[in-house]
């Protein structure tokens, strides 16, 4: 059984017990425990069920690479699935549940899948997609949905907060082990500003467990001294519980700080996303121990050799009484010695090498530990727990020589540098056959904007494994020269072992796990190779090797070695899969930061927004603005309100907050020439104090924006844009000015926010303005399509005589700071005329009744002005404008393009939005032919019937014809092709 030892545990405080629960069972751990170490201390070895076969699983590691010990953590509101027990610091009241078990962890019916293993080979999904479809729907999918999957998705809203933090430094060091500390010290002493991130809650990495001496001090004493030295340097800053998650171009690093996961009562944000710009990045990310591939290597009790001693030294936890160590290198002897020193039995060290004999091996032999050389494990005995191992010759096929009872197997297949951060921006790797590892090539580092490398590796991340090599490498990584002196034991070389035993037959290979989390075995990768998936990237996707939440930290190298063996190729020829950020999963909350709830995105408000809020505005999002769709009165439906607003505006007086419309000042000696290029119309000939409606196209000829342009003076124009277009039309203008016509003398300024603009619309519009008084708004002084500056009721305004409704209409612009006051004044003055504010829907209906097009309704990025019958707004005199040449291409200047018409329903009903008019016959795909589509459609309160605009094949030539529009869900609407101008075609009402 696993248990807490009487002594030891350098990271725990035995005097401070911590209560927690696992699957509802109340347990006790100690301050400083991880969830994994606390469970083990309580003899809870079984921690979960595997993804595919529901095999019993326990920890394999004691660190971030853990594939098995995943938990549902916490309560609703603060729920976290797939939390790694090895990285979860224990806190009072922690609630953990095992994942992927049904009905219970101890007895799982899904484990029957294991018996079906031979029916669930690599590529099962791909193969089964093809087979009888009904099987997929009724048998495979329900079966897979029931059995697959890891953590639960949270159901309640997350009640934690998150934030971002931008930071800058000369050197960002990822990893606070001895290499990272040494690099930080050297860089700090050189006067550089340094940020040091450590993903766990403590400093020094695994060096204190592995031992040795630095500068004559124990490793722990050296760490403490170095931390004190770092803290004396104001230019060095360090954070624990902060993962360097990804390296990006231009020295950008994402850090993921788990601020209060270890103490949910602490307050403040739960996670903080560090967004760091670093001059240089040093990855001191250490190395990961590799498992060995032997049958039954996933049975609870089989762990990495390093993890076995980590649990003893760091947390005072023994995984079992009798530990068999199986290895291809000297490092694992440390585990045997460590366990032995703690009074635990090590019946044997099984060394795959025929020859070994470094200093560690001698010590083991001196300690009386039996070493069986040239041997391997044929298979592990046991189901939910290791009960023994069967020993065989490594060179053979697995014939058992001896069975040794044990309850722990500590395996080591060598070490792989953590090269992920190095590789994120393209750092290259080379296969080191002697050390059996892919390691970074310093001469092929990621290159920054200055042409210089911007990422370096330090310590074990470089492939330096001994303490002396680690510190020397870390010193050099930041340009230092003097590394501390080290005392350490000499080690004999590692020998590559990719299958144990080397000649294992199919039965053993099909029980030898590569990827524990995704249940991928040696036999699966071999099957992929056999079926032609020769590229490592293809084999990965076919088998799902390395595609689990651990991203194959333990399995990648072993998997590609098996693949290369199956292909008869060398490991470097097969290569690695691509390393992508993040290194381990980071929370969605951290990515979102403060952007949630009210701060999810900016909400733009006009100066008059407050009035709308107080007066029943039914809102509509328009870009980031909220505009009133209509103003609801008591008991009124939205449709009734819209209808009321339209009728009142047509019969008396309406007011619209038009402040959101874009307003761009264009000024300079070349402004007229510039606007002639931007608009299809001629704007340079516009007279001061006059307005002109204009169209803007993209260089591909498509209509992109429209609006009224006013000429202010000899060299100044003011361009109105659509609400959504203000920012990008301004950017569009600046782009042309800065990149193409950089020598034209034109300045622009986006003054959208400087002015509130109020449309005063209806037969009584002039009367209300005259009542306010101050400026002459008569037809003579301010004719249709004119503008004039003046004083209106004490406000300094600019009045534009423009109309989007077909009624007598003024748009009054005033400094935004005066907007609300003018609105209130107009409302008060308009009371006797029956004034009613109206919203965007009434605006849309009134312009549709007049046949005015709407950007975004009649246009969708594929429509040119000619399609909309707007030839009158396209200058024939101009040599050029943006879009002109595109519009002359054969498929644009083509009578077969669908053209704008009005549509009037025969029964008075409303055509569904976006409906298509059907034509005879079917197309090549067996679909009904179509001859037109609706672009905007409304119930017209003015006309009392459904009206619409649409694009119809040869439409303008087919006046009076009736088209049929099927409704979704059955039925159809018939509509007659008519002129799009339904209301006041002579335009007498607006020009009075």
């Amino acid at each position: 059984m696993s248990t807490r030892l009487k002594t030891g545990g350098r990271l725990i405080d035995r005097a401070t017990p911590v209560n927690f629960s696992f699957n509802g069972k109340r347990l006790k751990g100690a301050q400083g425990d991880t969830l994994a170490s606390a469970l083990l201390a309580n003899d809870q070895m079984l921690m979960g069920r595997s993804f595919k076969y529901h095999r019993p699983r326990s920890v394999v590691t004691a660190d971030a690479s853990e594939p098995n010990a995943l938990f549902n953590l916490g309560r609703e509101g603060g729920f976290e699935p797939n939390a790694r027990g090895t990285m979860t610091e224990l806190y009072e009241g922690l609630r953990a549940e095992s994942q992927n078990h049904f009905p219970s962890l101890e007895f799982d019916v899904g484990a029957i899948n294991a018996k079906l293993a031979r029916f669930l080979p690599a590529g099962f999904y791909y193969k089964m997609f093809i087979h009888p479809r009904t099987f997929w729907k009724h048998i495979y999918e329900p079966f897979i949905r029931q059995s697959a999957g890891l953590g639960r998705a949270p159901k309640a809203r997350d009640d934690s907060t998150y934030e971002h933090f931008y930071a800058f430094c000369d050197v960002l060091i990822a990893g606070g082990g001895v290499a990272g500390l040494q690099a930080a010290k050297v860089a700090g002493e050189a006067g550089l500003s340094v940020i040091l991130f450590e993903q766990t809650g403590h400093w020094g990495g695994r060096a204190p467990v592995d031992g040795g001496k630095i500068d004559g001090l124990s490793v722990e004493a050296w760490i403490d001294r170095t931390l004190a030295e770092l803290d004396a340097m104001p230019n060095v800053r360090r954070r624990v519980r902060t993962l360097a998650a990804g390296v990006y171009d231009h020295g950008y690093v994402l850090g993921y700080e788990q601020v209060s996961d270890h103490d949910p009562t602490a307050g403040g944000p739960r996670h903080r996303l560090w967004r760091v710009r670093a001059g240089r990045i040093v990855t001191a990310t250490g190395a990961i121990e590799r498992p060995l591939s032997f049958a039954g290597n996933d049975v609870p009790g089989v762990v990495l050799a390093s993890a076995a001693r980590d649990y003893v030294v760091n947390w005072g936890v023994s995984l079992g009484d009798r530990t068999i160590v199986v290895t291809n290198n000297d490092d694992a002897y440390r585990t045997a010695l460590c366990l032995h020193e703690h009074g635990l039995a090590v019946p044997a060290i099984i060394d795959a090498r025929r020859e070994s004999g470094g200093a560690l091996a001698s010590r083991a032999e001196d300690a009386g530990i039996r070493v069986i050389k040239g041997s391997g494990i044929a298979k592990v005995v046991g189901g939910k727990r290791v009960t023994g191992v069967s020993i065989c010759a490594q060179a053979g096929e697995g014939a058992a020589l001896e069975e040794i009872p044990c309850d722990v197997v500590a395996m080591s297949g060598g070490w792989s540098p953590v090269v992920h951060l190095w590789s994120h921006c393209g750092g290259k790797l080379v296969w080191d056959a002697e050390k059996t590892m892919f390691k970074p090539v310093p001469s092929q580092a990621p290159i920054g904007a200055d042409g210089e490398p911007f990422v370096a590796t330090a310590g074990a991340a470089s492939g330096a494994l001994g303490l002396s090599d680690v510190l020397t490498d870390a010193t050099k990584a930041v340009g230092g020269s003097t590394a501390p002196g080290v005392e350490e034991l000499e080690e004999a070389p590692t020998e590559a072992v990719w299958m144990m035993p080397q000649g294992a037959g199919y039965k053993l290979r099909s029980k030898a796990w590569l990827d524990f989390q995704n249940d991928v075995k040696v036999s699966d990768v071999e099957l992929a190779a056999q079926e032609g998936f020769e590229s490592v990237e293809h084999a990965k996707r076919y088998t799902t090797l390395g595609m689990a939440t651990d991203q194959g930290k333990l399995s990648n190298i072993n998997g590609l070695a098996v693949l290369s063996n199956a292909l008869g190729a060398d490991i470097p020829q097969v290569g690695t899969t691509t390393f992508r950020p993040p290194y381990t999963p980071i929370s969605m909350g951290a990515i979102a930061g403060e952007a949630r709830d009210a701060l999810f995105q900016p909400l733009r408000k006009t100066a008059i927004h407050g009035w709308h809020e107080e007066n029943g505005a039914h809102w509509e999002p328009v870009g980031q603005w909220r505009r009133p769709y209509t103003f609801l009165r008591d008991g009124e439906s939205v449709e009734d309100a819209v209808s009321r607003e339209v009728k009142n505006t047509r019969q008396a007086l309406g007011m619209l907050d038009a402040s959101t419309l874009g307003k761009i000042i264009v000024k300079g000696p070349d402004a007229g020439k510039f606007l002639d290029m931007m608009y299809t119309n001629m704007m340079s000939t516009l007279k001061p104090e006059r307005c002109r409606y204009g169209l803007m196209c993209t260089e591909n000829g498509f209509l992109t924006d429209d609006g009224v342009v006013a000429r202010i003076d000899e060299d100044t124009w003011l361009c109105h844009t659509t609400t959504g277009g203000a920012d990008h039309i301004h950017a569009h203008m600046e782009e042309w000015l800065q990149t193409e016509w950089w020598d034209w003398k034109v300045f622009t300024a986006n003054v959208t926010e400087q002015y509130a603009q109020i449309a005063v619309v209806g037969p009584k519009a002039r009367a209300v303005l005259e009542k306010l008084g101050g400026m002459d708004v008569s037809a003579d002084a301010l004719p249709f399509m004119g503008w004039s500056d003046g004083d209106l009721g004490g406000f300094s305004v600019r009045a534009y005589r423009i109309s989007f409704s077909g009624e007598l209409s003024y748009e009054i612009a005033v400094a935004a700071s005066e907007g609300r006051a003018l609105w209130d004044a107009l409302l008060a003055a308009g009371e006797e005329f029956g004034v009613m504010p109206y919203g965007t829907e009434a605006l849309h209906i009134m312009r549709a009744e007049k046949g005015f097009i709407m950007i975004g309704d009649e246009t969708d990025g594929t429509v040119i002005p000619q399609d909309l019958g707007l030839h009158w707004a396209i200058s024939k005199k101009k040599a050029d404008y943006l879009g002109k040449r595109a519009q002359e291409r054969t498929f644009m200047a083509n009578a077969d393009r669908w053209q704008l018409v009005g549509l009037e329903t025969l029964d008075g009903s409303v055509i569904p939005d976006g409906a298509y008019a059907v034509a005879e016959g079917e197309n090549a795909n067996g679909q009904r032919n179509v001859q037109g589509r609706v672009t905007s459609t409304y119930m017209s309160p003015t006309l009392g019937k459904g009206i619409a605009m649409g694009l119809v094949h040869h439409g303008p030539d087919r006046m009076g014809e009736v088209l049929t529009f099927p409704r979704v869900g059955g039925g159809e609407v018939k509509a007659r092709i008519v002129s799009p101008v339904f209301y006041d075609p002579e335009g007498t009402k607006q020009n009075v």
Binding site: Y166, P269, R604, F747, V751, E753, Q754, S817
Partner: protein
């Protein structure tokens, strides 16, 4: 815009409206109207916005006269003078952790900015500019339509603890 204050890790205050005038032109030409500040700085009441744009910040009641004075001074050169006073909202962020509060929202090396340094950047999801005042602390301007959003994110940032490197651990 309403004045409002919040006390947290930093003090956040929305200031009463100020006069603001955009000047565009060759900076050499604009020197006829104002004293042109160094690139990326604010000097006196004039801020450097871009290689051909300055922003004058003044009392509201001065705007009319200044606009006229600048237009007169720039007669004969290609320029644009525009009152933008009503387009902007202004905030003051002060206190020992003002810089770290801004660093939660703006991708700027705030610590490297000396008094008089001026940056155009973004505040979470909206455009903004801010500068370091001579007496310490920051003034920040953004568009008036997003004043509530800016207030919201600044308040939210100041509501949570800052001082990430103190105490050192």
């Amino acid at each position: 815009m309403s004045e409002r204050t919040f006390e947290g890790a930093a003090s956040i205050r929305q200031l009463p409206p100020r006069g603001m005038i955009t000047l565009r032109g060759d900076l050499g030409d604009l020197a006829a109207a104002v004293i042109v500040p160094e690139t990326g700085h604010i000097a006196g009441h004039v801020a450097w916005m871009s290689p051909d744009e300055l922003l004058v910040i003044c009392a509201q009641e001065e705007v009319g006269e200044r606009v006229t004075t600048y237009r007169d001074a720039l007669t004969g050169t290609h320029h644009l003078v525009q009152d933008v006073s009503a387009a902007r909202a202004t905030f003051e962020i002060s206190g020992p952790h003002a810089g770290e509060t801004l660093a939660k929202l703006c991708p700027v090396d705030v610590a490297a900015m000396a008094p008089g340094a001026f940056r155009r950047t973004r505040l979470a999801q909206v455009a903004c500019a801010f500068w370091v005042r001579e007496e310490g602390g920051f003034d920040l301007v953004c568009f008036a339509s997003v004043a509530d959003y800016a207030w919201g994110v600044l308040r939210n940032a100041a509501a949570h603890p800052v001082g990430h490197f103190e105490p050192r651990r």
